[in-house]
Structure formats: structure tokens, C-alpha cells
Amino acid sequence: MSRGFGIDPSDAVPLWKQIEENVRRLVASGALKPASAMPSVRDLARDLSINPATVAKGYQRLVEAGVLVVKRGEGTFVAEKPPSVPRAEREKELEGGAMRYASLAVTIGAAPNEAIERVRHALGDLLRKKIGGPA
């Protein structure tokens, strides 16, 4: 379960954010199916050998965003449907994410075209995985 999370404690991105982003990626690609059970905070923290408060913070953000849902007494699950995000909020999220990515691209010295090409590839990858075609 924890393999797909591939977190790196020494990365500049905080661990809770890595968890948040990885779960989003796994949901987006269909690797985590709608309504499937997430590992408990305790189990995932043990698997990854990280502070459970960090996992809880990542999960909390995903619950707030509607990507995950908490069922009382049962645990945390992937939402049945992708969250419906109001247009204004979606634009703000996309803008923030794009700025973070653009900053990364600039700080490691990537050319603009190279950076844009990568986004295209990533989107293509995710969509293909979701459709279930050849990876």
C-alpha cells in the first residue's frame, strides 16, 4: 500500500504535502479506486516510519478537499465521486499549483518549453492510466 506513496523526508516539500500530492496522484490515475479504503493513519505512519501527525495532516487536507471521506468508526475512504470544486476555487488551486511547478522549473534551470512539455506528458500519463489503456 505504502509503496505508491514514495515519500522523501529530505525533500523541500513537507512530508504532509507529499502525502497529499501522492494520494491525489493515485486517485487521479485510478490506482486508488473510488470508495476504496485508505490505510489508517497509524498503519501508514508505521509503514513510512514517519510521525502520524504528519499523515493525519495530509489526510485532513484531502478530506477538506473532498478527495477522501471519513466514515465514523470505519475509517478513511476515497470519495465515491471526484469532488466538485467551484470554478473560482478550482482556478485558484490550479494557479497555485502552476506557480509551485513553475518555481521548481525555474530553480532547477529548466527551459520553459521543457517544463510545459512535462506537464503535457504527466496529464497524458494520468488520463491513459485512468482509461486503462497501455501505460
Partner: protein, 316 residues
Amino acid sequence: MSATLSTGAAIVSIRSLVVRYGGDAKPILEEISFSVPKGSVYALLGRNGAGKSSLVRCLLGQQKPTAGGCFLFGEDVWKRRARLMAKVGVVPEDPDAPPSMTARQLSAFCARIYPTWDAPAVEARLARFGVPAGTPYGSLSKGQRALVALALALASSPELLVLDDPTLGLDAVARRAFFEELVGELADRGTTVLLTSHDLTGVESMATHVGMLKGGRLILDEDLEALKSRFRRLRYANEATEDPTRYGQELSDFDAVKVKVRGWGVEAVVSNYGDETFTKFAALEGVVDAEASALSLEEIFVAIAGEASPAVKGNA
């Protein structure tokens, strides 16, 4: 009265702590002040001789401060040691017990002292660790002793766990078991932890706060996430000047802690990084091919504390 503490209250509070031995002019600890909030994992780092051991001894009420004091749950440790220590679990740097006693006998012995002792939990933890409860302490390996110490430290359901370099010299299996148990404890009880460690990889995954001692002074006391977000390694070629002694002036906005001139250009560790500052910097006349990369806690420690951490040999 027992102090009730709200979330965020300080479990540990070190106030202007000074420790001086004999007639030494220079104190071992100079005016140290910091606090450990409830539910946090505070990692106290420092090279050997930085003053960590003296601080831990004072914190556990084993040593009287020359000035200032250590407060646990709001009370002075030196004055109320016995009562306060009942709420603290300790894994010492070199766990020690009578060599002929087994872990089970040690647990039974402690059960008479601590009212909240959970002997079955000790047995369950030892079984999880694969450490025999009936083997004399003296016949256990170093890793097994550390795990026994952890099982005993957790048996009284402590509100504060003090871990003094607990994974030093442990093999990978024992280290993994130690951290798994610690994670479980944090998940189940939200125990506050103060640890000293050479194992910066472990610290980086577990700590919420970091303090750094150097030469008896606390040179850093910060949230780990904030610390990591403001440190970066910058690499760039400087084509603005021919004079190597002037390299680094273009870094003034970044508060560089270390600048090295290499054959290809300049490498610097900066302590005040920001994306916007970097964008401006990268556009400066003469700054070419600027790159910024993240630093691990180990690398930050080396940059600030000055020399390689012993972690490299201790926990390879």
C-alpha cells in the same frame, strides 16, 4: 495539584539554564531557554561536547543547574523530581540494568513503584520486538537492550518520553522496530517526545521541532518545516567579477551560512531562501545558470554546526 494543560501548552520549559562545572570560566550551558509544546516531537541536536548530556541530566532532575531551571508540566524538576518523573518515560543513551535480571523481572520490579504500570503491555511489546522476556539483561544484544528500555519507558503510559540517542549503534532491524513502536505510541497517545540523536534521517521523519546546541549555546530553536523551507543550496556561475574574494556579495538577501568557490562557480548554503528572492537573484547581471536545491536536515546541521555529523559512521 496536577497541572491540566491545554493543547499547545509547554510540557517542557527550559528557562535561562546555566551549567558550570567547578571553577571553569566557560559554562557548559549558557542561558538556554526553549520549550517543548504538548504533542510535539522535539529533537535536540548538537555535536559531542555541545552540552546535550548536561541538559538532559538537568531535565531529568539528576543535576542541579548553576542558574535558571528546567520545568516539567509547569513545575521545577529539581524541587519535585520524584513526583514529576512518574509522568516521564526515559530511554537513556546507554541503558543499564542488573545483568542477571530478566526483562520480566525488571518490569515486575518497576510495577511496584509506578501506580499506572502496565506489565502485560511490556510483555506484548517484547513479543512484537522478538526480545525474550526471560533472558537475563546481561545476555541481550545492544539492540535488544534498547528495545527493553523502550518497552519499560512506555509501560507507565508517560506524558513525556525522553529518548537520549536511542538508536545509536542499533542495527537496521532494531532501529526499525524502535521507530515503529514510537510511531504507534504517537498515534495512540500523542505522547510528547524530547529526543537527542545522531540519527538525523530518523529525526527528519519524526520530529516536529528542532533545537541545535553549539558550544553551550542554543543556536537554533524552530519548527522543522519552517527550518527546511528557508534553507537551500544554491549553485551558480558568477561572471560579474574576476575577484573571488568578492563572490558571495550577491547573496546578501539570502543570509548565506556557507559559501564555497568551486572551479565552475559558486556553491552556497543559504538560510533565508524564498522563491521570489531567488527569481530576482537568478536575473542579476553576472549570475548565470543559478539552481536551488533542497537540503536534508543532515546537510543543514553540517552547514550550521560546522563539521560532519558522527551519524555518518554511527548509523550507516
